[in-house]
Symmetry: C2
Subunit: 437 residues, 2 copies
């Protein structure tokens, strides 16, 4: 089957990320979508700029019209941002029978009702997973994954800049202006930070989430928006003393008389999982009547995470264009004839870190013997803890954390350690995963 | 459009939950799916058992064959568990041209390859979101939401019973057998707990997740499985001392030589979000090359949470049966003609709790005045904190946490407080949400 041709509007941060991900994961994506995805044309303001990806097979143009009217393009990806030009181009793409994928939260929050109606009429798809919480598939989760629920409320940390600032204020006792300046230096905040710190960006996203959760039209103008610039280090500290963290939340709740739709700084109990979502990360908590509370966590911005959502939407569209409806999404994510024969590794070949607990005779030289065995097998020790012997016990517990090593090697080490005369019984071995990403 | 008729195999815990959710949320579900969903027939072992739902319009039978061959049933929901009879019935349903929704992890992990091939050939859908992590839409997230990524690894707490036991062991220093007995009394653990505590249940789920993440056939027999019964309170305590928590994790990682597929107790750094997933809750951490780490959290078992996933799958099927492919999932989750005119509430009508900070003159009677104003407006105080005055300051900060109250009432209270001669400047007001579910 011929690849699906897509056209790109915008080659900035997210545009560049989208090209990178589509190129880098081309084979993986084709195995999932059942068809290749090819960027035929891309519109950018400056054609001479150096790009961190291979643009040799992409027709570059400064004319966005050439993208939305390109005869071979089936999917237009809108990544230019803003609401005026973007709206016009998206409406034209729809009129030209193109499917549209967009990451533009302002566009959807303000003009979504109009855009969706046009798409519905024209029989084309409009997908916008990347518009809310970057790479977290939160729109799909609410719209499809929780479709059996009556959603009661949702609350989200949906602006990374604001969360970074509040996290720094709490961790280091610094004040708002100070941290904002740093965030601007690090590139986490724009030169004009209003959109982020005054909650406008979060309000765009919350507007979209609330409509999907409660089945109401998009009503951005009705969203209450309060920023975080008035939060003082004292407030952060007092909140902490009382058992709370301050987060910039978007909250939407269904009541009998209407829907609450509000973005503002919010104290939340520090023991809640979402209170521990720090730095630039995003998370959305959704409470359904059947499922109870669910939480979705991940990167809310950045080139690659946003591209992750954009490309997922493109794959969704391609799956509809390619398969009969019943087989749209393959059971195991990849097309049945595209499963890999990559073997499942035997345990001896896996690699992880380890916690070991030994019962050692309380005699000199035991630790030397044990650490020698580990050293001989090239197993590095991360931490070692020797505990007091229990009363009248002839042995002392020794706990060792190791660095990552093949399990086969560790099995060898454990046999040798258990063979020592000064070690009693079996070695307790629990695997350890740092889960850093 | 006529409702879609479904047939139910099994009316146990999840079966009952599924009927309840479909009945309770019938209107909401129809607005989302574009079509009603009607349970035409259900097979149960005991027809005389009292049911916590209205079964007057459901044909009850002891004969599962009557369900899979019912001429009007388009979707068969398999909730009887086990792998022998369930496999036969599912294969028959497929042969009879029925779509299938199942919550049966053992069935999919062991016979999924065969079932999917049959479904593919017959042109019917088989959906199994409820088979992994109950109500968390993790299969949809990986299969569709992260479709642009090369998945690098995933790690999940995917057995609630095991997580409950390990959480209790840590919180209370109790030993395994002791907590297991309590879990059995509470109904969190089966009389024969082997499936849960030895990791077999988790291995079924991990097998499914790994196939979807890495595009390999289901290979349950290749999964390494180690239980938690040998974990001692000492190990839990030593791990804690070193900065780790012990969780029963399913881990799957892609390496150049193969896929790691293993369930075992695992130390993880206590600062990771997933280390703080406690009690019977589940969570899955997925690392994609583009999106980075993402986490999905929610209830992994129970009647209603599992039913949430079952019904979501039924809605997915009905959306395919009902709409043209391009409009399968409505943009805003609900069908365009089914949006509600529920208004967005003005801020004065929302309800939340509050953190108030006042600068009070360091004089007697100030607190009495403030608390009198709150009492007059029926605003209850949850906590009050009076801080030391800053050196040479003429005022002291007073912090008040209130219970939930309408914002209009709070605005009134704040105006009255600010009008007091003994209060300096504006009252700082930050909203507070307990987010308990």
């Amino acid at each position: 089957m011929k690849p699906v041709k897509v056209g790109l509007l915008g080659l900035g941060t997210v545009g560049g990320g989208t090209v990178s991900v589509l190129q880098r994961n081309a084979e993986e994506i084709q195995r999932r979508a059942g068809r290749g995805i090819e960027i035929a044309i891309a519109a950018a303001r400056d054609l001479d700029k150096e790009r961190p990806f291979d643009s040799s097979k992409i027709e570059l143009t400064t004319d966005p019209q050439a993208v939305v009217s390109h005869p071979e393009v089936e999917v237009v990806i809108e990544l230019i941002g803003g609401t005026d030009t973007a709206r016009e181009l998206v409406m034209q793409a729809i009129a030209n029978d193109k499917h549209v994928v967009t990451a533009n939260k302002a566009l959807i929050a303000k003009h979504g009702n109009e855009i969706f109606a046009a798409a519905q009429k024209q029989g084309v798809m409009v997908a916008f997973e990347a518009a809310v919480a970057g790479g977290i598939p939160i729109i799909k989760a609410i719209r499809e994954g929780l479709a059996g629920n009556r959603i009661e409320w949702l609350a989200g940390i949906i602006n990374g800049t604001g969360n970074f600032i509040l996290t720094e204020m709490r961790d280091k006792g610094r004040d708002f202006a100070d941290v904002l300046a740093e965030a601007q230096k690090l590139g986490y905040a724009e030169a004009d930070p209003t959109f982020d710190v005054e909650g406008i960006d979060a309000a765009h996203k919350l507007t979209i989430l609330a409509s999907i959760a409660f089945g109401i039209p998009l009503q951005f103008d009705a969203c209450y928006t309060e920023g975080i610039s008035h939060i003082t280090p004292e407030d952060v500290e007092y909140a902490e003393e009382l058992g709370y963290r301050i987060k910039h939340l978007g909250v939407s709740r269904r009541t009998d008389s209407g829907v609450e739709l509000r973005v503002h700084p919010t104290l939340i109990p520090y023991r809640r999982l979402i209170a521990n979502v720090d730095g630039v990360m995003n998370a959305v908590l959704v409470k359904g009547d059947a499922v109870g509370p669910t939480l979705y966590y991940g990167a809310g911005a950045g080139a690659d995470p946003t591209a992750s959502a954009v490309v997922a939407d493109v794959v969704d569209v391609v799956r509809v264009l390619t398969a009969d409806p019943e087989n749209r999404v393959p059971h195991l994510a990849f097309q049945p004839d595209q499963l890999s024969d990559l073997p499942v590794l035997p345990m001896a070949d896996i690699e992880t870190a380890y916690y070991l607990r030994l019962e050692a005779s309380d005699k000199p030289g035991v630790l030397a013997d044990v650490t020698r065995i580990l050293a001989d097998l090239d197993i590095s020790i991360e931490a070692l803890l020797q505990k007091e012997p229990a009363e009248e016990a002839a042995s002392v517990p020794v706990i060792i954390l190791t660095h990552r090593i093949r399990e086969g090697r560790m099995n060898d080490a454990i046999s040798r350690i258990e063979a020592l005369a000064t070690i009693q019984g079996k070695v307790t071995r629990i695997r350890l995963e740092a889960l850093d990403a």
